[in-house]
Symmetry: C2
Subunit: 426 residues, 2 copies
Amino acid sequence: MKKQIPTVKGARDFYPEQMSLRNWLYENMKAVSQKYGYQEYDGPFLETLELYAAKSGEELVKEQAFVFNDRGGEQITLRPELTPSLARMVATRAGQLPRPIRWWSFGPMWRYERPQKGRSREFFQWNIDILGTDSIEADAEIAAIGAEFFRAIGLTPAEVKIQINNRKLMSEQIAALGVADIKPALKLIDRIEKLSAEAWAQYGVEQGFTASQTAGLRTLLGDKELWRKSDELIRFFDILDSMGVREYFEYEPSVVRGLDYYTRTVMEARDRDGEFRAILGGGRYDNLVSEVGSDQRISGVGFAMGDMVIGLVAAKYGRTPTFAKSPALVLVTVFGPGSMADSLRAARSLRESGLRTETYPEAVKLDRQLKYADAQGIRLAVIIGPDEAAAGMASVKDLKNRAQFSVSQADLPAKLREILDSPLPS
Amino acid sequence: MKKQIPTVKGARDFYPEQMSLRNWLYENMKAVSQKYGYQEYDGPFLETLELYAAKSGEELVKEQAFVFNDRGGEQITLRPELTPSLARMVATRAGQLPRPIRWWSFGPMWRYERPQKGRSREFFQWNIDILGTDSIEADAEIAAIGAEFFRAIGLTPAEVKIQINNRKLMSEQIAALGVADIKPALKLIDRIEKLSAEAWAQYGVEQGFTASQTAGLRTLLGDKELWRKSDELIRFFDILDSMGVREYFEYEPSVVRGLDYYTRTVMEARDRDGEFRAILGGGRYDNLVSEVGSDQRISGVGFAMGDMVIGLVAAKYGRTPTFAKSPALVLVTVFGPGSMADSLRAARSLRESGLRTETYPEAVKLDRQLKYADAQGIRLAVIIGPDEAAAGMASVKDLKNRAQFSVSQADLPAKLREILDSPLPS
């Protein structure tokens, strides 16, 4: 066996079947984004490290980013997330963009992580954000779009939930425990599900919290009614009600998210039994745009959803559709070397009529050509031998119901369209 | 003015208007690819340097590739082209893929080049290939798809031409001049348009050719009838005739392409006055798949088209369409803080009826909300004040013809659909 050239660890090949899944996600993300009037954009894939150093948080920048020096000596980063690029782009055109700014994107990101189920180093992410408004309606709209996406691909509120919290509420509550610095407290909260109760309390002490503070934190994190102390959250849930998606949401005090730039609403989606815990993640960032270069204060709220976890969730709940192989509906076969021109002309007229059509590129045995059509899921095969050609006719095989008939070449496109449009007997 | 974080040299921001252009190209590429039955795929963005070292050629690998060491010490390359990844993917599944393999892709590539008009370091490329057949019909099909794309976006044969040559033909002709090694000769040919006649002859001598050999080469390159000496080219042009795209093609002996792996047909598209000289480039590669790890011989033929040059060509000939701003057709305004729930519910019913709808997220002055709709190109604005709400009514402003009317909220979706579907008086 010849030595194969290896792939890079954590990079992914998208064969047509994986590409169909990625496109199915993309098409649903696009439809839901556009339903709410969001415009598609994209940032560069290469950014300066400085952009993330501003606010993304230590773990992402120091541990997970792919950073390298280019030939000019610049330090370049393969984008580990899109929000800082979005903030930079908005900051650059702050004066010209009508607000609110509703933008969405779908593209590759890179993080240096241990490849495992639902994680690779090269992954795709849907980002959707609204900027230029402080209103809680914007937070609710973004959250509602997440729920609408789940609904669009068939995931029910019994299967997935979006958990909501508010960092402002948490900051007030944490301050009331006598904790001065909110950042290490959020980090501690972010770990509560990853550690045992003892290990977590111990970690709290190591981080400089008193035993009574960690105990107070734990009580807070168990209080599912805490949201009633936040006017923002009360309105947030009311709005989701008007928008018809309330059943996808619940309040969860332990959700605080890992990125440093979130200021108020935070959100995270998980599935029923918690097997998948960050199907999407997001929140409101009030200061990021000015951190990366705007004189104007432009706040924003958004979420990101990676392609791998949602792909696994869709599969787990049986919501992944079966994808067609070839996009072609018709294969025009080649009877013999002398028939090629006839076949090419027939294929041309089928394509001109709007039917996606493959031709077989060689005059091999007909049986092999028909097997190819079958393997590719192409339903109709057209055969034009010398007799048919002389009579201006074509034979058609319907590989789905094994029917066969003759039709004049002039009527071929209309006849095939008629077959493809009529329902199959079941 | 606050200091802005810079972008990486040669990287690109896609604001919604640039994204619309990229998507317009993508949609046309997709439509033409699918018309011929090609399946979409994608390779990884990160590959090993070894993959390109196999056959891409020295310039691409040593001068243009972004190469870096990752945290694990592996030498990683940001893909400068897609064909080697395609060859690797096909080699990996050589036994399972029905043949012919018809695949297309559209995605980012990176090359370390001096940023200039039509070139950036981060660019997008359409790749389309057919593998697993040696037939010249495959070469012609790929070439025809290039022509069909030009036709699809409105570029005529008077504006763009695909120039064809054949490396096998050239090798035979060059060998007849007493030149033993074909590679430096192809390199010399590739420069004929870039150098003056004297500089070119001088360069030939430096590369070890005799004066009579460079003179012989120059004669060859002027012979537009040379294709008649190649059975492959004679058939190739015949097939294009049957496919209905012959007028987009011409024979050009100086086209040999820069990549090392091409073996026979090569192609390159340019515009009328030669301002743009490599709108697409491609050819047949008979050995690449086995070079990267297949025991089976699987040949292929394909081309690549970068997004920047074709974007400039479309603009030059006035073929770039005007793009909509917001995908929304309707803006539901907010009359006052107490009207938000009514507006959200109206927006919900419009979306449920299939109308893409934005809401204004704050109860600012109505005039500002209507200006926003205008700026985003949203045609219809819905207003629900307290009086309308009490009567179950809504006011609608048609911003295109400045008409205004009232309608019951129950009839709102149907009425707006009717307006959007009826032609505007001109």
